[in-house]
């Protein structure tokens, strides 16, 4: 698809951690939307595939001073020195210059997992098993997203199927740009607390762009210089301090 220079978007998210209740709808909606298979019997939290994972994080205090925050962690769509892109030996990871979205091409991936060691956010997942749905469920799969075979890496791509559908819709209507409401990833759409705001960060009139600059908004691991496009927001000081702390410090 040819992109004109002015159609350069930078899709990103601002996730309000104070609103997140940790219910997990986003994770399930993501798996259903992107044809991520249910866990194999032996799979664990370290071998499962969750493009979006909500981590419960405690402030480390005892009862009742304990506090927990739920951190939805997805591919951070790094905008600078994208760690996974440069390491892939066969160009199976690409940043779409027109959207800023880091895309994974599972059909080209040889499963070396170098990208997974490169990703500091642990947002990449390997298919340790063949994807298996219970018998009969194949008809319930999303026709817009190709299921991945075993032995490849996969990750969040901001619901590429939905972006494609929005582009098709725009093209059908003779528009060059997609309408903001037409492109909403499954996690954003399903969040009961409306904790995730999604949109084009490059568009300064946009809510997501405004929120990304607002007070108490932060990124994880900003010092790595990877310029993630997922922003987090919390009015709780301990949450922001935690995000700024070195691990094991």
């Amino acid at each position: 698809m040819e992109q004109t220079a002015q159609s350069k978007s930078r899709y990103g998210m601002v996730i309000d951690l104070d609103r997140c209740t940790g219910c997990g709808v986003c994770m399930v909606a993501c798996a259903v939307e992107n044809n991520v298979a249910p866990a194999e019997q032996k799979a664990t939290e370290r071998t499962g595939v969750t493009w979006l994972r909500v981590y419960p994080v405690s402030n480390g205090e005892g009862f009742p001073a304990n506090d927990t925050v739920f951190i939805p962690m997805t591919c951070q769509q790094c905008g600078n020195h994208t760690p996974c892109v440069s390491v892939c030996p066969q160009n199976a990871v690409e940043v779409d210059p027109s959207t800023g979205i880091v895309g994974q091409i599972p059909q080209r991936c040889l499963g070396c997992r170098y990208c997974m060691t490169a990703c500091p956010y642990h947002a990449r997942y390997f298919d340790w098993w063949d994807p298996q749905w219970p018998e009969g469920t194949e008809v319930l799969l999303n026709p817009d997203v190709a299921p991945r075979m075993r032995g490849v890496a996969e990750k969040c791509n901001f619901c590429h199927g939905r972006l494609h559908a929005a582009r098709t819709k725009a093209a059908a209507a003779g528009r060059k740009e997609i309408a903001a409401g037409d492109y909403v990833p499954a996690c954003v759409e399903s969040c009961p607390s409306r904790a995730i705001v999604f949109g084009d960060l490059a568009d300064e009139t946009n809510e997501v762009s405004r929120l990304s600059h607002s007070i108490n908004t932060f990124q994880f691991l900003p010092k790595l210089g990877t310029a993630p496009k997922i922003f987090y927001h919390s009015a709780k000081e301990w949450v922001r301090k935690m995000a700024d702390r070195a691990p094991l410090a």
């Binding site: 609103r19 209740t21 940790g22 219910c23 997990g24 709808v25 994770m27 399930v28 909606a29 993501c30 798996a31 259903v32 939307e33 044809n35 991520v36 298979a37 249910p38 866990a39 032996k42 799979a43 939290e45 071998t47 499962g48 595939v49 969750t50 994972r53 981590y55 419960p56 405690s58 480390g60 205090e61 005892g62 009862f63 009742p64 304990n66 506090d67 739920f70 059909q107 063949d130 994807p131 298996q132 749905w133 219970p134 018998e135 469920t137 194949e138 008809v139 319930l140 999303n142 026709p143 190709a146 299921p147 991945r148 075979m149 499954a186 759409e189 399903s190 009961p192 607390s193 409306r194």
Partner: protein
């Protein structure tokens, strides 16, 4: 011709070298790579026309509106319906994958009979006719005399047309019982109905106008009634000024979202409620009329005088100043006080529920804006049928034949609660269910009912709703021929009992009947699914127009004026003051006897009740704990010389079991917070009922509650 070995080798070598210059190896290389992209283990994607259907979720009584995206007629994704007035476009994690449930590996695909009782007895395939003919002598016997026990139907989702059908059916038998399962109704509202001494109308919370909610463990953001209702109210707190005070011994997801969390020692909720009541009474914070209208006001006043906040503070761990502040907050704002029915822990004990519900009476919340309303139930013909009784009120050993309906409340309960109602010989249990679950262990006959989104079903008023409502859940999937419509089963059993027809023979005809009743009442309005337009029933040309609107995913909501509440409200109902211990501080025990409290998540208390893809939450991440794990405060673990992740043996009077301990600082010390949930790793459950697990260790009290059981832990 003579070929030497050397010539042969040269030829072979040359061939190999030559082949490299042909397309063959490269083509093979290419084909093998293409094969890795298409091999048979990767499922084929559906292709076909895309359509959208509006329907409703029937996994629990919450009844959320659903917009289904369908490809080639099959649902491929479900989302909430934005603009829907009751569910606000929100679905829970179980609902969003609800269309996968029909293909659950534990799905029952035909009727079964058990050859014996218990989890280990094998399943024998059977047929509906065979089951009916096997039961016929017993049914006829019960009809002639109830001396050897009677028939009971257990409804886990009362209020449906089907519920009326069940009531009608059992009324044909002497002593026939229509029982509702624990968790199928809001416990505070059930208790209030008794305090109000009325069976007329339906009670509901006017949360939209409430300013303070005092919740004793109600999971308001985590599976309470229609999630879209409370989640949105709480998220909009800076606009609507709502305050949530959560009383809970564990920092649950609701406690985390609350404005104030009162970390209470479980079991002392009654003392706290009475202490709050005491502050209100002593400081005259209640409406003056209550003193006159409540016949037991004096008794209550004497009772609460024994619960000074200072004493109670020592018992329940909430500072007296906080108790006093809470009382003031409740009295100076439109408020409601509610208790929580834990999806696995069940209700609090009756005495506690009574004083919690009684606070609403004391505050004058009944019939007040922002309080608790009494509204008209869904129009129904109102035929003489058996009254509904709570399962706990069914006399022990009185049920010879038990029929359990397949619709779930999303909550669970210990099997022993059911078992003790059956006659001494164990009785006979006929269970409708789409799945094989831990509950199946109790069944003699398993009848497969349709799974979610597989058949036409009804969505009636959610528990705690402000107004009556009604909608249809339209099927998205083809119902397998082997599943049995509950109404058809009832008709078969009626036939086997020698009864004339009990009415409708399919659920669809039941729903037609209800539509007819609504049409006749001329009440309420029908909204399109997205709320784009609303049509009063009165303005509709025909009954068919109402049915058509409902069949397109429309939602009927009543518009009747609230009913007048009987002013003679009691504060304690049938509870006597001696049921409440004087506030005295029990020593906090963290090494000897601990409090075992089961905890569940609505619609996720059994492996069979969640779609396999929910493994993302339970198995592939730490977001939700797997069933069978026990969360214990690190200090309590340490006091018992245990560590995080250790396997512990939990012993109660009912037995013992081994579970994995999780050190969790959000749980109050001295408590075993036991997770009742799905365990996708449990391979044994594929061909026999899942073990009951922690609920099997719980002691069921006479009032039917099992929230707290004394238990000890040791290294397994």
């Amino acid at each position: 011709m003579n070929i030497t070995r050397r010539e042969l080798l040269t030829f072979a070598g040359g061939s190999i070298l030559g082949a490299l210059f042909t397309p063959i190896p490269w083509k093979l290389l290419d084909d093998s790579a293409i094969w890795t992209q298409n091999w048979s283990l990767i499922p084929r994607l559906p292709r076909g026309p895309e359509t959208f259907t509006f329907t409703g979720c029937t996994l629990c009584p919450g009844g959320c509106a659903v917009k289904a995206r369908r490809v080639n007629g099959h649902p491929v994704s479900l989302v909430g319906v934005a603009g829907h007035s009751l569910s606000n476009g929100i679905l829970c994690p179980m609902g969003i994958a609800g269309h996968h449930l029909a293909y659950h590996p534990l799905r029952l695909r035909r009727p079964f009979a058990f050859t014996g009782k218990g989890a280990d007895s094998p399943l024998v395939p059977s047929t509906l006719d065979e089951i009916a003919s096997n039961l016929a002598p017993m049914l006829k016997d019960i009809r002639s005399s109830s001396s050897r026990g009677t028939i009971a139907v257990l409804d886990q989702r009362p209020g449906r047309v089907l519920s009326d059908l069940y009531r009608k059916f059992v009324s044909n038998f002497p002593g026939g019982i229509y029982a509702v399962a624990p968790g199928s109704e809001d416990p505070t509202l059930t208790t209030l109905r008794a305090l109000c001494n009325t069976t007329e109308g339906t009670l509901g919370y006017d949360l939209e106008n409430t300013r303070v909610i005092l919740s004793f463990g109600a999971p308001l953001v985590d599976g309470w009634s229609t999630p879209g209702r409370t989640v949105q109210l709480l998220q909009n707190r800076n606009q609507n000024g709502l305050k949530l005070i959560q009383v809970e011994g564990v920092q649950s997801r609701t406690a985390l979202q609350a404005d104030t969390w009162l970390p209470i020692m479980p079991g002392t909720e009654a003392a706290l409620a009475l202490a709050i009541g005491g502050v209100i009474v002593r400081q005259n914070l209640f409406p003056a009329k209550i003193e006159k209208t409540s016949p037991d006001f004096r008794t209550y006043k004497t009772l609460v005088s024994k619960f000074e906040p200072e004493d109670v503070a020592a018992v329940c761990g909430i500072p007296s100043s906080v108790i006093s502040e809470t009382a003031h907050a409740l009295a100076s704002n439109p408020s409601v006080v509610m208790s929580g029915y834990d999806p696995a822990g069940g209700p609090l004990d009756n005495a506690t529920e009574t004083v919690i519900a009684g606070l609403n009476v004391l505050l004058g919340n009944i019939g007040r804006t922002g309080g608790i309303s009494l509204h008209a139930p869904i129009p129904s013909p109102g035929a003489t049928t058996s009254p509904a009784v709570g399962l706990a009120q069914v006399p022990d050993h009185s049920v010879r034949l038990l029929l359990i309906d397949g619709a779930e409340s999303g909550h669970t309960y210990p099997l022993s609660l059911l078992k003790r109602k059956l006659t001494a010989d164990g009785g006979t249990v006929v269970m409708l269910s789409p799945y094989l679950s831990s509950r199946s262990a109790l069944a003699d006959y398993l009848v497969p009912s349709p799974a979610a989104f597989e058949s036409l079903e009804e969505i009636s008023t959610p528990p705690g709703a402000r107004r009556s409502s009604f909608a249809l859940s339209l099927p998205l999937l083809k119902q397998p021929d082997t599943t049995v419509d509950p109404a058809t089963l009832l008709a078969k059993l009626a036939g086997a009992s020698g009864l004339p027809s009990v009415g409708a023979e399919t659920v669809e005809s039941c729903l037609r009947q209800r539509t007819h009743d609504i049409w006749l009442s001329k009440r309420g309005t029908l909204a399109t699914p997205t709320g784009s337009s609303q049509t009063p029933v009165m303005a509709m040309a025909s009954e068919e127009e109402l049915w058509k609107g409902l069949s397109e995913g429309g939602w009927w909501v009543d518009n009747m004026q609230d009913k007048q509440v009987n002013p003679r409200l009691t504060l304690l109902g049938l509870m006597t003051p001696d049921r409440y211990d004087k506030a005295s501080a029990p020593a906090l025990d963290t090494t000897g006897t601990l409090k075992l409290i089961p905890f569940g998540w609505r619609n996720a208390t059994m492996t069979a009740s969640v779609a396999p893809v929910l493994s993302k939450l339970f198995q592939e991440s730490h977001l939700r704990s797997l069933g069978g794990r026990v969360h214990i405060n690190p200090s309590t673990l340490a006091a018992n010389a245990l560590s995080d992740g250790a396997y512990v043996k939990i012993s109660t009077h009912s037995g013992n079991m081994t579970a994995q301990a999780v050190a969790d600082p959000s749980v109050i010390p001295g408590v075993i917070h036991a997770i009742v949930g799905p365990s996708p790793n449990n391979t044994a459950s594929k061909d026999r009922p899942e073990a009951e697990g922690i609920l099997g260790l719980c002691a069921v009290r006479d009032d039917g509650s099992w929230r707290i059981t004394e238990a000890t832990i040791a290294k397994a």
